[in-house]
């Protein structure tokens, strides 16, 4: 494979033994624990004395504890894992003077970047899967409900989406590590983009929506303006991978969610008729609802990696 295996192995062992990974993993494992504990305890209280609803197990992941649910937490802080694993991938080697030495060995140049990306993605996969498993086990003991086949499938899909989502940020930080010579610059740039895409886009979306289609008060507003407002808001928010990811995973983890849309306008008769069908969506239907989101997420991670690949291959190897 032209050196891919050797680079992959080395990077993987570097990832797992590096201090920053241990710190990050400890942090994320701790927060996940706390969140699932809070969710678990409140679930247990609420479940006492009533017939168990379907999909209790998934609520461990989707129920809000004191602050936010696990799914939301991964959406906001998952990208940090990707960024931390990749921000010095190439310029770090350059700064240490090891890049030229590496590519002067009989390997293909792309083995360096492929190996680094694959090792990072593997690390992310191990991390996500272990967090999901730990919380499942924890929840099993706490709530005392055994997950069904569908719940396990949903969790597997959730883990898969999360891996792609975090890998997108890995690809992005690798791209910055190729584009910028300085490690500090590439880290700041990727953090800045993370903050922009994750927090400011949603702010900007509502500002834009309110200036184009202002909705003063909910009651008595023109329905078309309300729809326009909501559409603009959602359209702008879709720029943010976090928005795509949260919508996709919330629907996958919560079968009661039937649409990714935040605004649903229904007449009174429609409400009555739809309330007769308050049963959860089947897994297949949940996937159909978020299919565009899934494709978009996979596409942006692949495009991001493809761009870094191309830039790296075209770049002069010398500083």
């Amino acid at each position: 494979m032209g050196g891919l295996g050797a680079v992959y192995q080395k990077e993987l062992s570097d990832n797992f033994s590096s201090f920053r990974f241990v710190i990050l993993f400890a942090l994320i494992a701790m927060v996940s624990f706390i969140i699932s504990y809070m969710a678990g305890v409140s679930l247990k209280e609420n479940l006492e004395g009533i017939a168990k609803p379907k999909f209790v197990f998934l609520m461990l992941f989707s129920a809000k504890g004191a602050l936010f649910s696990l799914v939301e937490f991964v959406a906001v802080f998952g990208p940090l894992i990707g960024l931390v694993l990749g921000f010095d991938a190439i310029n770090g080697e350059r700064a240490h003077g090891t890049l030229v030495k590496l590519v002067s060995q009989p390997i293909y140049r792309d083995a360096v970047i492929n190996g680094k990306f694959l090792a990072g993605a593997t690390t992310i996969a191990v991390l996500v899967v272990s967090i999901v498993l730990v919380i499942s086990g924890f929840g099993l003991a706490l709530v005392g409900v055994v997950p069904g086949v569908e719940e396990i499938l949903r969790l597997a899909i959730y883990a898969g989406i999360s891996i792609f989502y975090i890998s997108f940020w890995l690809g992005l930080s690798i791209l910055f590590s190729i584009a910028f010579r300085s490690v500090a610059t590439s880290f700041l740039a990727s953090v800045a983009l993370w903050i922009f895409l994750s927090f400011f886009i949603s702010l900007g979306a509502s500002v834009l929506a309110n200036s184009i289609a202002p909705v003063e008060k909910r009651e008595g507003a023109d329905p078309e303006t309300v729809i326009a407002n909501s559409q603009i808001k959602e359209g702008v928010s879709l720029i943010s991978p976090m928005f795509i990811y949260s919508n996709a995973t919330a629907t996958i983890v919560d079968p009661m969610r039937k649409t990714t849309k935040s605004l649903v306008l229904m007449g009174p008769m429609e409400q009555i008729s739809s309330s007769r069908f308050q049963s959860p969506l089947s897994l297949g239907q949940s996937i159909v609802v978020v299919y565009p989101h899934l494709v978009a997420l996979i596409a942006i991670s692949l495009i991001c990696f493809a761009v870094s690949y191309w830039v790296f291959m075209m770049q002069e190897i010398r500083t």
């Binding site: 050797a6 240490h96 090891t98 030229v100 060995q105 009989p106 190897i317």
Partner: protein
């Protein structure tokens, strides 16, 4: 036995956006010789070496390394050429043996064979006792030795050594130069050596080339160059004098 050219360039040229780094370069390095590759900083020596390794694409012209075109057969060329870059770096958290193991992996040397070879090259460069020490604790001279050990691991036919003596103390530089000479004599490795330590280069080089502003202004044995510049092929002219003469003329 007729010696062959191991490295041959024809009109090798590298242009960046605004400047020409290497300008229609023609030179040869013969099998089994130590070729002193001299020139001021920024003359285009490293760029030339990168093109010979297929790591940088020539704008015009071409080169042959052991009969192979580095542009098309980069993998084959990199398999037989060991390159020690200027200011070579190491992964600070690895020790010398781990570092060498990684290089062995990259060269796809089977594990068992690699262990033997690692021991052998560490002994050759005199680092056996420091094999388990983290590279970040190495002195500059030890790092250069480790760099040469990494190059030797792949059992190269040709070595490109880019400023291996830079920043070494006089004693370290002399010992490194002696090591290079013994490798050339005992293992029959052709060496392309770029260095500013002209005295040392003079001691071990069979031939030298002087590169200034992207052009090879002189190529040949030291006697031949002395004859050309001073009219006498005498041993009394040092390489330094010859070099300065060429440098002032350009």
């Amino acid at each position: 036995m007729e010696t062959q050219a191991v490295i041959q360039t024809t009109e090798l040229t590298k242009r960046y956006d605004h400047q020409t780094a290497v300008d229609r370069l023609n030179f040869q390095v013969m099998e089994g010789e130590i070729f002193g590759f001299l020139g001021p900083n920024g003359a285009g020596k490293t760029t030339t070496l990168l093109m010979l390794l297929g790591l940088s694409r020539p704008s015009e012209g071409g080169a042959r390394v052991c009969g192979l075109d580095p542009e098309r057969k980069a993998m084959e060329v990199k398999r037989i050429v060991g390159y020690l870059p200027e200011n070579v770096g190491f992964y600070g958290d690895m020790d010398a043996v781990q570092s060498l193991r990684y290089v062995a992996d990259l060269n796809r040397i089977p594990v068992r064979e690699a262990e033997d070879r690692i021991r052998e090259v560490l002994k050759l460069v005199g680092l056996t006792e420091n094999g388990g020490k983290k590279v970040s604790a190495y002195s500059r001279g030890m790092k250069q030795r480790l760099g040469i050990a990494e190059v030797l691991l792949k059992d190269p036919k040709v070595m490109f050594l880019d400023e291996p003596t830079l920043g070494l103390d006089p004693d370290g530089a002399v010992r490194l130069i002696e090591l290079i000479q013994s490798l050339n004599q005992e293992r029959k490795i052709t060496v392309l050596l770029s260095s500013h330590h002209l005295q040392q280069v003079q001691k071990i080089s069979h031939r030298v080339g002087i590169m200034i502003k992207g052009r090879m202004v002189a190529e040949g044995s030291i006697e031949a160059l002395a004859r050309e510049k001073f009219g006498v092929g005498d041993e009394k002219f040092t390489l330094e004098e010859i070099y300065m003469k060429y440098f002032q003329e350009v």
